[in-house]
Amino acid sequence: MIVFAIATVSSRKVLRAVMYLLFVLIGISGIYFLIDYSFLGAIQIVVYGGGVVVLFIFSVLLIHHVELELEVTPLKKKISAGILSAVGLGITLWAILTYPFKTANSYQSIEVEEIGRKLLSYEDGGYILPFEVISILLLAVMIGAIVIAKGKKLGLKEGEIENRE
């Protein structure tokens, strides 16, 4: 997965980078399946594998030629960005590895039924407000994308994402 992630940010052919990104996303959904949260794994595959990656491929094909290669980033910029992210990674890993996490002993898998009840409950600890806000947000994004792109293709894709929620 890490190899594919590095390939995503370093490949010079655009379509190959998109396919590497797809592999990374499927690997992440594998993590969700491993911790028994299969609902989110399925969502990940459907939304990313079916929606976002297809959207990327469409836009790449609309904009570039298939075999077009990206410009080479100047080496100086690469080195400075690499040093910056390596330092950040070092600090983060140090913080994670030295912090004593109290791992819980009990374990239960995450049930879809509970999540559904939680999402729609309006009692304490319910998530009805963010749920509604995100519905409005998706509607606004749908209209906005149609207005901005002034085409119907993007709007239809948005509609698929909205329906899945």
Binding site: I28, I63, G88, I148
Partner: protein, 105 residues
């Protein structure tokens, strides 16, 4: 939780993904590739939410619910950004970062 894998390993994996995304965000010249790096960053955040929820607080569901919200937001953001990029391509015939100097035509 995953048998035989502790929380440190998964958190290390997600932070490595996050900083690979940061690296791509800084080095890529193309707007679509910048967007793909943002996808990597958001996915690392979603992994962190789910993993911390299952390993540390298995009785609660907050992390699981927020990861769903993150995925919805990422999808919405990607679709809107691609609409903007295509519109920009119609205007200036390029999607390189250095060529996008106008915000309004």
């Amino acid at each position: 939780m995953i048998e035989g894998i502790n929380i440190y390993e998964v958190l290390s994996l997600s932070s490595i993904l996050f900083f690979i995304g940061i690296y791509g965000f800084f080095t890529r010249e193309n707007l679509i590739m910048v967007l793909m790096s943002i996808e990597l960053i958001l996915n690392a955040a979603a992994i962190n939410f789910v993993i911390i929820n299952t390993y540390l607080y298995p009785d609660f569901l907050q992390g699981a619910i927020f990861s769903i919200f993150i995925i919805a937001l990422a999808a919405a953001e990607t679709a809107l950004a691609i609409a903007i990029i295509i519109n920009l391509y119609k205007l200036v015939s390029s999607v390189e970062v250095k060529d996008t100097e106008i915000m309004k035509y």
